[in-house]
């Protein structure tokens, strides 16, 4: 195994008496997009939170660039995250939200970077509008822009297609390809099988807190994937 990228070994997570993750190990190299599939409640979001050091695992360890991540201090500056929530402040404008996060990440030449990102996610026209007036899709675009603002090398995304229109979906796929092209590593939770299999390099299937299947997106056709998924989860992908 190489030292670069992100690695997790034997991750377990219990909430109280419930075991949500059991012995999950994975490796993610720079320039790679890995998709995570699985039914609701499989533990996907929890896994992402553990990897982001938002919550401590009950067992196991996480390595970033070959070194153990403790409270995530070494990882956080290099990581962008799209979670369930948008992390946005409704009363601030799109621009102000990005300026705020830019300051937290000490992004250089911030104003230029903010307008660049706003243009990139197609929100240049709404830069001065409060986020409260945005549609769900616009918020999601801004959320994706926020995650990319500080030029992360690791991207953790939890159902990033949520609320996006068709143009937004292709935009996200473009952004992901661009990100990978720049040597970024991305972990992508998704229920949009076709799009995700198209853009990702590898996939994992999580079921009841365990990794129940894995494969290379290039090598697996839609029919194979459906069979693999049904084997792992017990029901077909919809």
């Amino acid at each position: 195994m190489s030292g670069a990228g992100l690695a997790a070994r034997g991750i377990a997570k219990r909430f109280g008496y419930r075991e949500i993750l059991r012995d999950v190990s994975l490796e993610l190299e720079p320039g790679q997009i890995c998709a995570i599939f699985g039914p609701n409640g499989a533990g996907k979001s929890t896994l992402l939170k553990v990897l982001a050091c938002l919550t401590r695992p009950s067992a196991g360890e996480i390595l970033w660039e070959g070194r153990p991540v403790k409270d995530g201090a070494s990882l956080r500056a290099a990581m962008g995250m799209v979670g369930h929530g948008t992390f946005l402040y409704d009363l601030l404008t799109a621009e102000e939200n990005l300026l705020f996060y830019g300051r937290l990440y000490r992004v250089g030449d911030l104003r230029r970077r903010v307008s660049e990102i706003l243009e990139r996610v197609g929100l240049g026209f709404a830069a001065r509008d409060p986020v409260a007036t945005f549609s769900r899709g616009m918020k999601q675009r801004l959320t994706i822009g926020r995650a990319l603002l500080h030029r992360p090398r690791l991207l953790l995304m939890d159902e990033p297609f949520t609320g996006l229109d068709q143009a937004g979906r292709s935009l996200l796929i473009d952004l992901l390809r661009e990100f990978r092209g720049g040597g970024g590593a991305c972990l992508l939770i998704s229920h949009d099988f076709a799009e995700t299999l198209d853009v990702a390099d590898r996939f994992l299937i999580l079921n009841r807190g365990r990794i129940a299947g894995a494969g290379d997106c290039g090598a697996v056709g839609p029919a194979d994937f459906a069979r693999l998924y049904e084997d792992a989860v017990g029901q077909p992908p919809d």
Partner: protein, 221 residues
């Protein structure tokens, strides 16, 4: 780390400027309490100078609790707090930033309302600089403890009811110190005022440092 805290203060000030939630509600409520005290204690018949410090601080602490209750609501919406936790640097900076913003709001409220209290309750204005020092230091203790407990209570079903129940027992030293020091300042008794100011400063130190150390553990999950 200070940069992170300052970014949070800036953000809170802009949000507050837009919503005017905390400042307006706290100001109006405290002024109303002054009015109610006027009717209840009758400044026309009685000289209220003796109980004035107590009345003023009770109003400020009760009204301020309303504002503190709102402090973590914006952070809970959209999981914004997770965004702050994910940002690089010390997680304790989040406590510092929220506390400084609350201190700023509360001090502003007190600066506006203190003359109003003196006028409404027919007490002649005394104390000057010493009184300003009391306001500043007592508000540090109040908002430091309040910010910490507001962060705790935000994770419960009954946060609005719970915050005052958790806050006021812990706040007793500030109540005592603020009232005594204000009385000392108004009576021109600098020695008493300074002695109580020292006590307030000690409380402030503990209630800024301990939450600062503990807060980062509370942010996980």
């Amino acid at each position: 780390m200070l940069a992170k805290s300052m970014a949070i203060v800036w953000k809170d000030v802009v949000v507050e400027f837009r919503a005017k939630e905390i400042l307006a509600a706290v100001l109006i409520f405290a002024a109303l309490v002054a009015l109610i005290f006027g009717f209840a204690f009758d400044p026309v018949e009685h000289d209220l100078t003796g109980i004035f410090p107590g009345l003023m601080w009770v109003a400020y602490f009760f009204a301020g609790t309303l504002g503190l209750n709102r402090s973590f609501i914006t952070e809970k919406q959209n999981d914004a707090l997770q965004g702050l936790v994910l940002a690089p640097g010390d997680r304790s900076a989040i406590f510092l930033g929220k506390f400084l913003a609350n201190w700023l709001f509360m001090t502003l409220v007190e600066l506006i309302l203190t003359p109003v209290f003196f006028a409404l309750l027919n007490v002649s204005f005394k104390g000057g600089l010493l009184l300003a020092a009391v306001l500043a230091l007592a508000t540090v203790g109040f908002t430091a403890a309040g910010t910490f407990l507001s962060g705790l209570a935000a994770n419960t079903r009954a946060s609005e009811v719970l915050l005052p129940i958790l806050l006021f027992p812990l706040l007793v030293p500030v109540v005592i110190g603020a009232v005594r020091a204000t009385a000392g300042a108004m009576a021109g008794d600098a020695a008493t005022a300074v002695a109580w100011l020292r006590a307030l400063a000690a409380y402030d130190a503990v209630f800024v440092v301990v939450p600062f150390l503990v807060f980062e553990y509370l942010l996980e999950g």
